[in-house]
C-alpha cells in the first residue's frame, strides 16, 4: 500500500491528501510529529528525505518528496483519463509554471501561517506583502480566464495546477492575510470545493 508521510496541519501534505481523495486512490498515512516533536529533522526521517520536509510519498520502491512532484507522479500513474495532468505539451508547460508558482510565491502564505501559528521566525510584514503580490498575480490570471469563459487555472477542467495552488491560498487567513480584494480567487476557491471527492483540512471549511 502506498504510504504518505503526513502532518495533519500541513497545507503541502493536504495537497496530496486532497488529490488522492479526488482520484479515489487508497493509501496509508504515516503521521509525522512535525510540531512540537520536530520529527522531520530527525536522522531517521532525514534518511527518507534529506531535505527534512514533508510530504513524502512511498510507492513500492519509489520515494518522492515535494508535493508538486508527487502530484505529477500520481496524476500520471493513477488517473486513467489523464485529465489532471494532460499529455498535451503546451498544457504540461503551463501546469509546470503554476506548480512552480505554488511551491515558490504562494509559499509566502505558508510562511505567514507558520509565523502566526507556530512561532516561526519570519519577517511577517515582508512575507504577507509577498503573499499579497502572489495572490494579485493569481487573481489577475483567473479574471482573464473567466473573461475567456474558463473556470480553472489551466485548460478546460481542473488539473494538478489547481490542486497545488489551492491549499495555501485557502489557508491565508491563518497567516492574517485577507482574500477580500481577490474576487476571482474567491470564486475559484468555491469551485475547487465543488470538485467531487473534495476533502477539508483544519482551517479549510466546506463552505
Amino acid at each position: 500500500m502506498m504510504q504518505l508521510y503526513d502532518y495533519v496541519l500541513s497545507g503541502s501534505c493536504y495537497k496530496v491528501r486532497l488529490f488522492l481523495s479526488v482520484i479515489g486512490q487508497d493509501y496509508e498515512k504515516v503521521p509525522v510529529d512535525y510540531y512540537p516533536g520536530g520529527e522531520h529533522k530527525t536522522p531517521t526521517f532525514l534518511q527518507i528525505n534529506p531535505l527534512g520536509q514533508i510530504p513524502v510519498l512511498v510507492d513500492d520502491d519509489l520515494i518522492l518528496r515535494d508535493a508538486q512532484a508527487i502530484l505529477v507522479y500520481l496524476a500520471g500513474r493513477y488517473d486513467a483519463n489523464r485529465s489532471w495532468y494532460p499529455e498535451d505539451p503546451r498544457l504540461q508547460g503551463e501546469i509546470a509554471m503554476w506548480l512552480s508558482f505554488a511551491s515558490n510565491e504562494i509559499m509566502n502564505s505558508s510562511a505567514a501561517r507558520l509565523h502566526d501559528m507556530l512561532f516561526y521566525d519570519f519577517d511577517i510584514d515582508k512575507v504577507r506583502a509577498a503573499a499579497h503580490a502572489a495572490f494579485r498575480v493569481l487573481d489577475d490570471h483567473l479574471t482573464d480566464r473567466e473573461i475567456m469563459g474558463k473556470q480553472w487555472i489551466v485548460g478546460n477542467h481542473p488539473t494538478i495546477a489547481d490542486i497545488a495552488c489551492f491549499p495555501y491560498v485557502a489557508l491565508s487567513g491563518d497567516g492574517g492575510i485577507s482574500l477580500d480584494d481577490y474576487h476571482a480567487v474567491r470564486r475559484w476557491i468555491s469551485r475547487v470545493k465543488q470538485i467531487p471527492g473534495f476533502v477539508v483540512m483544519p482551517g479549510i471549511h466546506h463552505n
Binding site: Y7, V8, G173, P202
Partner: protein, 294 residues
C-alpha cells in the same frame, strides 16, 4: 500593549511554555498579559523574568514546573494551579501537544472548549456528526472551596472520540474550569472501561485578543503512537482556530443582557457569571469601549 492592570488576571498562575522545549536550552521569549517575558531553565529550576523594552532583563517572578509545562505569575496568586491527581496514576501517557497561537481572547477560547453544540458542525466525523446534533441535559455547579466551574453528566455521540477509538461511541464528559484561563475535560476512555481520559488547555493570554494555547492529553492508550495522538488533538484544535479568530466582538461579553439563554449554553453562562463575579476585565468585551480586545 503594556502590562494589564487587571489584578484578577495578574494573580493567576499561567502556563507559558513546555518543560521539554525550554529544558533543551531554548529560552522562550514570549508575552503574558501584555508584559514581555523570558522563560528559561536554570538546571532543573524554571525561571521567569520580565523582558524590558530596552532589551534588558527585569524583575524575576515565581515559576514552577507542573504537568509538563512551566507555570508563572505576574501577581500574587490566591490559589495554586489546579490539582490533577490522575497525573500520578500508573499507565497514563502525558501527551504535550505544543503551543499554538490564536488571535482571540483567552476567554473565548475557554468558552469554545466548553461548548458541545459545535461538535457536529466544526469537528464533523470526529467529535460529532449530523444529524445527531442535540446536546443532552447536563449539570452545572460552582465547586467550593476550590472555586471551580464544573459541568457534569454531559454526553454526546462521537464518530471518533479519541485517537484510539475504532467506532463511534456515546462519550460521557465532565468539564472543569479551574481558572479563567485553564480548563480540563474528563472523557470516557475508549480503551479502559470506567476510566476517564483527560484533555486540557492552558491558555496563555499574551494580549487581550492574542493567546498561545498549550494543549495536553493524559490518556490510557498503549497502542497509538505519539504522532497519532498529537495529530488527533491538533486537528481538532485547528478546526476551531479560524472560527475563534473571527468571533465578534473579539472580547467575551459578560453583561447579563448579552446572554441568550438556551439550555445547551448552561456551562457558558455559568462561566461568564463566574468571571463577572471575580471582576475580571482582561479579554472581556466592555460596552463602554474601554481598551476592548481588538
Amino acid at each position: 500593549m503594556t502590562r494589564t492592570t487587571d489584578k484578577v488576571a495578574l494573580n493567576e498562575w499561567q502556563a507559558v511554555g513546555t518543560v521539554e522545549e525550554i529544558i533543551s536550552g531554548k529560552r522562550r521569549n514570549t508575552r503574558l498579559l501584555g508584559q514581555d517575558i523570558i522563560v528559561e531553565m536554570d538546571g532543573e529550576i524554571p525561571r521567569m523574568f520580565e523582558n524590558n523594552a530596552n532589551g534588558g532583563i527585569g524583575t524575576e517572578h515565581p515559576a514552577q514546573a507542573l504537568y509538563g509545562h512551566i507555570w508563572t505569575t505576574l501577581g500574587t496568586p490566591v490559589k495554586a494551579p489546579l490539582d490533577m491527581p490522575e497525573f500520578k496514576e500508573d499507565g497514563r501517557r502525558l501527551v504535550v501537544c505544543g503551543a499554538l497561537t490564536v488571535r482571540a481572547s483567552a476567554l473565548r477560547i475557554v468558552e469554545n472548549f466548553l461548548d458541545m453544540a459545535h461538535f457536529p458542525y466544526v469537528h464533523t466525523g470526529i467529535l460529532g456528526e449530523e444529524p445527531i446534533t442535540a446536546v443532552n441535559d447536563y449539570k452545572i455547579e460552582i465547586r467550593e472551596p476550590e472555586d471551580e466551574v464544573w459541568a457534569t453528566e454531559c454526553s454526546f455521540f462521537q464518530p471518533q472520540a479519541a485517537a484510539s477509538a475504532d467506532d463511534g461511541q456515546v462519550s460521557q464528559y465532565m468539564y472543569r474550569v479551574s481558572s479563567p484561563f485553564v480548563t480540563v475535560l474528563y472523557k470516557t476512555c475508549p480503551v479502559v472501561e470506567g476510566a476517564w481520559d483527560l484533555v486540557g488547555i492552558f491558555v496563555q493570554p499574551k494580549d487581550e485578543a492574542e493567546c498561545d494555547v498549550h494543549t495536553f492529553m493524559l490518556v490510557l492508550d498503549e497502542t497509538s503512537t505519539m504522532s497519532d495522538l498529537v495529530h488527533f488533538q491538533q486537528e481538532i484544535f485547528l478546526q476551531d482556530r479560524s472560527i475563534l479568530e473571527n468571533q465578534i466582538p473579539p472580547g467575551l461579553p459578560l453583561d447579563p443582557m448579552d446572554e441568550i439563554a438556551i439550555k445547551a449554553d448552561g456551562s457558558s453562562m455559568l462561566y461568564r457569571r463566574w468571571l463577572r463575579n471575580k471582576g475580571l476585565t482582561f479579554g472581556t468585551h466592555r460596552g463602554d469601549g474601554s481598551s476592548q480586545a481588538a
